[in-house]
């Protein structure tokens, strides 16, 4: 009787711990039965806070603008910008001794979406502390002149948003031939 009670007690304790840790870390949700859309080997870490997405040949900042890469994760708060501000900050942006950073276009930003997960729909190992929220792309809408394309890392969907909205920014550059791919 008392042994059974102890076992039940421990099971309950572990269950509570599991639920609490899920809540504290707010990790993305990856439902059963869905294969990752980005295989691990497609994302290659570069020194200093950059990630190469191998198939697209694009190098992304691991942190959202406003955050800083501390060698291990992203610290600080992501900062939202209007579309014009996002473009302006991208021009001549210097990071990790590179000066070819730019705002990704709507197809480029979509390559790092991990569609098997939501909130955020991105690899948190590669892109820590990514807000599960809207990010600007460099692509204006041709059909609605007040709007430009954005992508939400809530679920990876792209949509047009009013250009005066303040949303997040992640910059990209194209890998040069002399940079490693593994």
């Amino acid at each position: 009787m008392s042994i059974l009670f102890k076992r039940v007690f421990w099971v309950v304790c572990w269950a509570i711990l599991a639920v609490v840790s899920q809540f504290v870390y707010a990790e993305s949700t990856c439902p059963d039965g869905l294969e990752n859309t980005i295989p691990d080997e497609d994302l290659v870490e570069y020194e200093g806070g950059e990630i190469l997405h191998v198939p697209s040949n694009l190098v992304f900042m691991r942190c959202t603008i406003g955050q800083q890469w501390d060698g291990d994760t992203c610290i600080g708060d992501a900062e939202p910008y209007s579309w014009q501000q996002a473009l302006a900050l991208s021009v001549g942006y210097q990071f990790n001794e590179k000066n070819s950073w730019r705002l990704p276009n709507v197809k480029e930003l979509a390559v790092i979406v991990e569609r098997a997960c939501v909130r955020p729909s991105i690899s948190e190992d590669s892109f820590p502390k990514t807000p599960a929220d809207d990010f600007w792309t460099s692509t204006p809408s041709m059909l609605d002149e007040q709007r430009a394309w954005s992508l939400t890392f809530t679920n990876g969907s792209s949509a047009i948003k009013a250009k005066d909205r303040d949303i997040f920014v992640r910059l990209v550059r194209t890998r040069l031939p002399n940079e490693p791919i593994e």
Binding site: G33, Q84, N99, N105, S138, I160, L176
Partner: protein
């Protein structure tokens, strides 16, 4: 008689004294040696003095020893002689030292004598020096209007300063000629700062500094400063940081001109590109605009180029500055660009470059390279798209007059099913719609077989994606039997976001039927949606609307179009 008596008395006294001592056996105290060290004297600081002395009354040879204050140096090589040389230090006031000579004879008897040496300070004047921080682009001691002038007297020195104190005790600046400019300057520091006035006339002013040493002596230095007039003030220019760019792409050029001279405005600018090692130049959008762009030329190897801005003010004064642009050859691109080549502002879309919105989609990528004439395309296609039509045998038929069944994307390497428009019974007809169904990799929800509506030409009547796919792979298309449902990324690769009217694809290659203008043109992907998942699985799948360009996850029972794909990135050798 009296003489005799006094002689007797003396004798008696002497006898009694001497006789008394010897009789008691007390050792005789040695008679002191008589020493003469010298007379008191006064000498100048930092000088030497030969000293000597004399002794008498001792036995045998004498040993001489001089002593004095430790700050005096005594060179006394031969102690059997009284001759020595004494050096005195620097002093800041009359200072007395006692110099002593002690003499010892062979029997150990000693004698001592001393004299007073007075050392007198002899002060050297300090040297006053003014150093002027010169401005580049202007002559010596010439300063334009509104500039900060830094004068520095801290290298002034005093040769005979005491080692434990600053050489200069005090600084005092003053202006001795010209329009007063020191009214708000600190005048008692080792340095002096002042701002030149804005004036139309050139003027020479004189500034002096008085430096005082620790002994109260002063010296002065002066410097002439030439205050230039407005017309001689060279304007300032900022051109931003160095950048890297690929061949054919556009980078923003921004020149900011300013001047401390109020009458220097307005300014004009001229941009010019350097010639790179391959002999080519970047095309400048508008070389007389402060904000414009440079279009990187076609290069076969990385080229470092300079975009040089030269500004001119209303007086004709000029200044040049360059921004370095690293131009990289087109790299191995495996992704399609968006198709956008127009420039947006906050509320318009225009064909022309918008310098206030630099860095947007139209500046970069295959579309810009195509417009710049540097794209290396295998086939044709709008903007940066690079498509080739294939006939039913898989042969190239890049001619719109001929029927084509498939489209090869020469950038992604994907081969796409071409939809047909004429025969509604053709299994590839553009208006056929399907429910989403996948036996595997389906997020635990296979989807809808859809045995109901006759919305397709699949022979078993089941209008779902998997039955359609299986039938095409059993019949074959363009000679291929390995078709599949595209991923989200593959389907998005052919979206043409640059079109101003739907459908958003290059319709020269991907014709759509004309009757779908008012409805979304949803096309299925093979990916179930992770969002909105219930306990039993993913009931939605991703689809893209070629009417608006948006994506969304639709319930798998939704009727939507599908465009099959096969292959992937391959090297195309033509």
């Amino acid at each position: 008689m009296v003489k005799f008596a006094s002689f007797i008395l003396m004798l008696a006294l002497i006898t009694s004294c001497g006789g008394g001592g010897s009789e008691d056996k007390i050792p005789e105290k040695p008679a002191p040696i008589l020493v003469t060290a010298g007379v008191d004297q006064t000498i100048n600081e930092n000088t030497s003095l030969s000293i000597s002395g004399a002794a008498s009354g001792g036995v045998g040879e004498y040993a001489y020893a001089w002593t004095a204050d430790a700050t005096l140096t005594i060179e006394h090589e031969n102690t059997t002689s009284a001759d020595a040389v004494l050096s005195v230090p620097s002093v800041t006031a009359l200072t007395n030292y006692t110099v002593s000579l002690t003499v010892t004879d062979e029997e150990g008897k000693t004698g001592k004598n001393q004299f007073t040496l007075t050392v007198e300070p002899i002060n050297l004047l300090p040297d006053a020096i003014i150093e002027v921080s010169q401005m580049t682009d202007y002559g010596d001691n010439k300063f334009p209007v509104g500039s900060l002038v830094n004068l520095d007297a801290s290298t002034s020195f005093d040769e005979d300063a005491p080692s434990d104190m600053p050489q200069i005790a005090a600084y005092s600046w003053q202006q001795t000629a010209g329009t007063l400019v020191l009214s708000s300057s600190e005048l008692t520091q080792s340095t002096l700062q002042f701002t030149t006035p804005v004036s139309d006339q050139e003027e020479t002013i004189t500034v002096a500094v008085m430096v005082t040493d620790q002994e109260g002596a002063s010296s002065q230095a002066t410097v002439d400063i030439i205050l230039l007039g407005q017309a001689s003030t060279i304007p300032d220019l900022a051109v931003g940081t160095d950048v890297s760019v690929f061949t054919g792409e556009r980078i923003a050029l921004s020149a900011v001109a300013s001047s401390k001279a109020p009458r220097a405005a307005p300014f004009s600018v001229t941009w010019q590109s350097s010639v790179n090692n391959e002999g080519s130049v970047a095309r400048i959008g508008a070389s007389d605009q402060f904000n414009t762009y440079a279009e990187a030329p076609l290069v076969s190897q990385t080229q470092s180029m300079q975009m040089v801005a030269t500004i001119k003010d209303s007086f004709g004064n000029m200044r040049s500055s360059a921004v370095s642009v690293m131009v990289e050859p087109q790299t191995n691109v495996s992704m399609n660009d968006t198709g956008v080549t127009a420039y947006a502002t906050n509320n318009t879309v225009l064909a022309s470059y918008q310098s206030d919105y630099a860095g947007q989609d139209a500046d970069f990528g295959n579309d810009r390279m195509a417009l710049s004439g540097v794209a290396d395309k295998t086939g044709r296609g709008a903007g940066g798209f690079d498509f080739t039509r294939l006939n039913e045998n898989g042969d190239q038929v890049d001619n719109t007059a001929l029927p084509w069944r498939c489209v090869r994307d020469n950038i992604t390497g994907l081969v796409w099913e071409a939809k047909t428009l004429n025969d509604v019974n053709d299994i590839h007809h553009a208006d056929h719609v399907y429910t989403w169904f996948q036996s595997e990799d389906n997020g635990n929800v296979a989807g809808e077989l859809n045995t109901g509506a006759a919305s397709c030409s699949v022979s078993n009547g089941q209008c779902n994606t998997e039955d359609f796919l299986n039938e095409v792979n059993s019949i074959g298309l363009c000679g291929f039997f390995d078709w599949r449902i595209p991923t989200h990324q593959e389907l998005q690769s052919i979206v043409h976001y640059g079109k101003t009217t739907p459908p958003l694809a290059d319709t020269d290659y991907f014709p759509f039927s004309g009757d779908s203008g008012s409805f979304p043109l949803w096309y299925w992907t093979n990916e179930s949606s992770a969002d909105g998942v219930s306990d039993s699985g993913a009931f939605n799948a991703w689809a893209l609307d070629f009417k608006s360009g948006v994506d969304n996850f639709l319930n798998k029972s939704t009727m939507a179009r599908v465009r099959l794909v096969r292959a992937g990135r391959v090297v195309i050798d033509e």
